[in-house]
């Protein structure tokens, strides 16, 4: 294994991966825990994976989904963010989505991933991503509308 390659991956992906996990989990501590586990998984299989970056992202996303399912729902505490109050409403609505739909939304609108890439990352058919995103956006519209009333 080329140690430098792992170091490069760590340096390049640590912050983006923690941010991605944070958006899915709502907790920086939990996000760091999931990302750390992801890096460990990558390091253990370094010689066996073709694309360590993609593998890391898959580990992180799956770790977040698993973590969310274990927690059943998002922690009700305040989110540490400097965003506007309206952004808080939006984040709150995102957090109420089912874990897999939430992952789709974050990957699509934070990571700018295509539906094909999201399907690959989540190991689901593209059709599932399309319908999941469609329903997620519908739920978000409804949630934001309810807030505004």
């Amino acid at each position: 294994m080329a140690a430098d390659d792992f170091d490069d991956l760590f340096t390049r992906e640590r912050t983006p991966m923690v941010r991605l996990a944070f958006l899915m989990l709502g907790s920086e501590a939990l996000a760091e825990e999931v990302v750390q586990d992801g890096f460990i998984a990558v390091l253990e299989r370094w010689d066996q994976v073709d694309n360590p970056g993609a593998y890391l992202r898959r580990c992180v996303v799956n770790g977040c989904i698993g973590q969310s399912r274990r927690a059943r729902r998002w922690a009700p505490g305040p989110v540490v963010t400097q965003a506007e109050p309206t952004a808080d409403h939006m984040l709150d609505a995102v957090r109420r989505l089912a874990p897999q739909r939430r992952a789709m939304v974050v990957l699509r609108f934070y990571n700018d991933m295509t539906q094909d890439d999201i399907a690959d990352a989540l190991r689901v058919p593209v059709g599932t991503v399309k319908s999941g995103l469609h329903r997620a956006l519908g739920e978000l519209k409804e949630a934001i509308g309810d807030r505004a009333r």
Binding site: L23, E32, F39, I40, Q82, A87, L91, V94, V105, I144
Partner: protein
């Protein structure tokens, strides 16, 4: 009720995500912790794998031994002795007049006809030394604890990638057991072993453990006197026992 079209909603999502994620740095994820935990998991996995191999080998050996014993019992009726050397007879066995002229074979009993005991070192550590005999093995430590310090005598230090490593580890393990010591098999969890033996930190080690430096040196001498190569003697900290 506010009606958002898809484009507005997507735009708001992108902006919200960027704002929310910006303060997050992820500095709690540390490279050294990642590496340490990955090493520990790999070491635990290797130990499990080797333990399974040892168990399978022991079962296979036992099965072969059982088959051999059964086969011998079948081909040798009770009270009958198979003797490959006709010139060597049991005392009291009636002899018939020989028709074969004596040869040199009759005066030399081939080793294959005589069951011999392997000349292995004493299997019980003893504290006395008989003149002319190899140095005695001191008693091993019974104080192996997670995070504890102890003296280790290392008989093998093998890189995981070494194709001949398994044989070296097995031979070292056998030497440890022959000396009457216990071993859980190869380990990667002795901090200080790599430095003492000059081996790669990821190496697998086989060792016997002692409470004092004097005992460790005595054991090292005893092993070497019996032809075993001692890779190093070190005061180490033992992990992976929690």
């Amino acid at each position: 009720m506010i009606e958002l079209d898809d484009a507005e909603l997507e735009s708001q999502l992108r902006q919200t995500f960027q704002q929310a994620a910006a303060p997050v740095r992820g500095e709690g994820v540390r490279r050294d912790v990642v590496r340490h935990q990955a090493d520990q998991r790999q070491a635990a996995r290797r130990r499990t794998l080797r333990s399974r191999r040892v168990a399978v080998a022991a079962l296979a050996t036992a099965a072969v031994a059982a088959v051999v014993v059964a086969a011998v019992a079948l081909v040798r009726p009770e009270g009958d002795r198979v003797d490959t050397n006709p010139a060597v007879t049991e005392p009291g066995t009636p002899t018939t007049p020989t028709t074969t002229p004596p040869s040199t074979e009759t005066t030399t009993v081939p080793k294959t006809t005589v069951p011999s005991q392997a000349s292995t070192p004493s299997t019980t550590p003893s504290k006395t030394k008989v003149p002319g005999e190899p140095p005695a093995f001191p008693p091993e430590s019974t104080n192996l604890t997670h995070g504890g310090t102890i003296w280790g005598v290392y008989l093998a230090a093998v890189s995981p990638d070494d194709p001949a490593g398994d044989a070296a580890l097995a031979a070292a393990g056998q030497a440890v057991r022959d000396a009457g010591y216990t071993t859980d098999g190869p380990t990667t969890c002795d901090a200080g072993a790599a430095e003492a033996t000059g081996a790669d930190p990821s190496s697998l080690f086989v060792a016997a453990y002692f409470d004092t430096e004097a005992q460790a040196k005595q054991a090292g001498a005893a092993f070497e006197d019996r032809g075993h190569d001692v890779k190093g003697i070190a005061h180490v900290t033992t992990y992976c026992m929690d």
